[in-house]
Amino acid sequence: MLRTLLLSLCLLAGLARADLVIEITRGADDALPIAVVPFGGPQPAGSDGLADIVRADLERSGRFKPLPFEKLPVRPTSGGQVLYNEWRSVNVPYLLVGSATPMPDGRFDIRFELFSVDRQARILGERTVVGAAQWRNAAHLISDKVFQAITGVRGAFSTRIVYVNQYEQGGKLRYRLEMADADGQRPLTILDSPEPILSPSWSPDARKVAYVSFESGRPAIWVQTIETRERQKLASFRGLNGAPAWSPDGTRLALTLSRDGNPEIYVMDVATQALERVTNHYAIDTEPRWLPDGSGLIFTSDRGGSAQIYRLNLADKSVKRLTFEGSYNGRADISPDGRYLVMVHREAGQRFQIAVQDLQTQVMTIITQTPQDESPSFSPNGTQLVYASKRGKYGELGIASVDGRFQVRLPSRLGEVREPAWSPFLK
């Protein structure tokens, strides 16, 4: 008893004199309110306002909750006009203001500043000069900077998405490979073909795309440089030629070939086109994706009786099964930090959904509820996924945060939209 007493006294004395330390281990982690004030100055004819584009970017990320324009108490366009109390009173922790000034050569001088209302500090103050054609690029650049300043993670708003659009023309099906901004805007056709196109895959420098085209009547793997449209046929072996995936260093391509009998995974040296077979199993092995460090691949195999995801170590060719939940797991992608696996998942008797598995905890979370979701692909900063789904006659791309808490759909395209792949960061 005496000991307890003394101990208590000591503790109390200790608390009083030395440092009281309170540990904060949890957070609210809700989407952050931010005020994006309409930029001052003119904008190119027919363009959206910079603030509109930035607002939409930040909102789509799921991490921000931009204040509706009509709720803005005031509309400053430069830091000199900012009074913190006006923003504190509406509980907005972040504030972005800026303006665009036309220059004599027709370009725009865009300045923007980001403030932390709570810390009463300017976090960013930058400028960029762009032509009218790069107006949206400037907005996405601002979004990237804001996102990084607040979250500590590089923004991926200036990236692209490629996908295959299957549409009808003159009563016939056609296929086109398209590339759009990460917000679905400014779609551009890379290839238009009367025959199916499948499995587009970005080179790590984001300048080339590999894909499977049936234009010759048989599947073949092509590599196309986006800017020059120059194309090269890389593989057209007997049987299946499918699922190309670029290695992180850009020197190799993993692919599925059935030239030796049943579908197996091979690695091709892009420069020499030398092939190495890396799986050897009577079951189907396909859909390879590289581990971020290039040391191995993940792939889909039905060697266990149902399709599941496996990991292959390229050095010793050892294989380890990664997924155990559900009757089907396929078409996996791995996050850039190697922690999360995303895949098309199906429980017995259910529809196909997108699921994320945390490879640290092995917990699998189903993150979409729409029917027939397919082909998930990580954003280069690992915070989001793009996947394809269908709505009636229209196909669309869905974007979801990795925890599934936030989801949006990009503009619909007539016909099917399939096989999206999110680009790496653009250099």
């Binding site: 109390l12 609210a28 500590g152």
Partner: protein, 268 residues
């Protein structure tokens, strides 16, 4: 920083101390209450006539089962009031009238303490009525016993004083602990951890509060190495202002005028 690990300790310690003091209280009370009971042989001579007391039925029912044990050592102190009423009706013999008051106010420790003294004489007197030698011997014995009893009482009193101090200390501790909990949960609801936050990161902030809990200075004492993470911690504290703090100025000054907040996510 040194006390980073000590945080959970005060809470635990407080609880343990409280538990122990509770146990001790029950023990002491039981002891005090039990003493007279041990020395109550006089009950032997019960005047049967008086047992037919006229009492409202309800009361009788209540008393009847308990007569032999006026004081129950087991139950905790607070619920005792009903029991206190029990002894009087049953133990009506005049001699026993004295000891009775003791159970009356079990809540008041000092009162309870004095009673045992009175019980003692009762014990002896009825038995003696012969030689004066015997009487003297008895007186001496009584005195010795009284001394012993007194020593025993002093010891109990000391123990209880100690308990009282301990209670006070742990009450203070409990107060501090409760505000630690309040501050913690308030800051946690205001902390929006950036996407780049990972388990294992840790930022230490030195916080100065004004009386009333308004946040004054916030200084990053130890950086996590991630600017967004540090900033999110500072913003959480600013957003949480004013923090809940004790009204008591001493308690505030001792613990909350300056302290450290350690931001270290566990679940990311």
């Amino acid at each position: 920083m040194l006390h980073a690990d000590a945080r959970p300790a005060p809470v635990l310690e407080t609880r343990r101390a409280l538990n122990r003091s509770l146990v001790l209280h029950v023990l002491v009370l039981g002891l005090v209450a039990g003493l007279p009971y041990l020395h109550r042989p006089p009950e032997v001579k019960e005047p049967p006539a008086i047992q037919a007391v006229l009492v409202p039925k309800a009361v009788v029912q209540r008393h009847e089962p308990t007569p032999p044990k006026p004081v129950e050592p087991t139950p905790a102190p607070p619920p005792e009031p009903p029991k206190v009423e029990l002894p009087p009706p049953v133990m009506e013999p005049p001699k026993i009238a004295l000891p009775k008051p003791k159970p009356e106010k079990p809540v008041e420790k000092p009162v309870a303490k004095e009673e045992p003294k009175i019980t003692k004489p009762l014990l002896k007197k009825p038995l003696l009525n012969t030689a004066s030698f015997d009487a003297e011997m008895d007186a001496m014995r009584k005195e010795v016993q009284q001394h012993e009893r007194q020593a025993e009482l002093d010891r109990i009193k000391q123990e209880m004083d100690k308990q009282a101090t301990a209670m006070k200390v742990s009450a203070n501790q409990a107060l501090v602990a409760s505000y630690i909990g309040k501050i913690k949960s308030r800051v946690e609801t205001k902390w929006n951890r950036p996407l780049s936050a990972r388990a294992g990161m840790s930022t230490l902030l030195r916080i100065s509060l004004l009386p009333g809990g308004e946040v004054g200075n916030v200084v990053v004492a130890t950086t996590s190495g991630n600017a967004a993470f540090d900033a999110s911690a500072v913003e959480a504290v600013r957003r949480a202002s004013p923090l809940p703090v004790p009204d008591d100025v001493t308690a505030f000054s001792q613990s909350f005028r300056n302290f450290t907040l350690k931001f270290s996510p566990e679940d990311l």
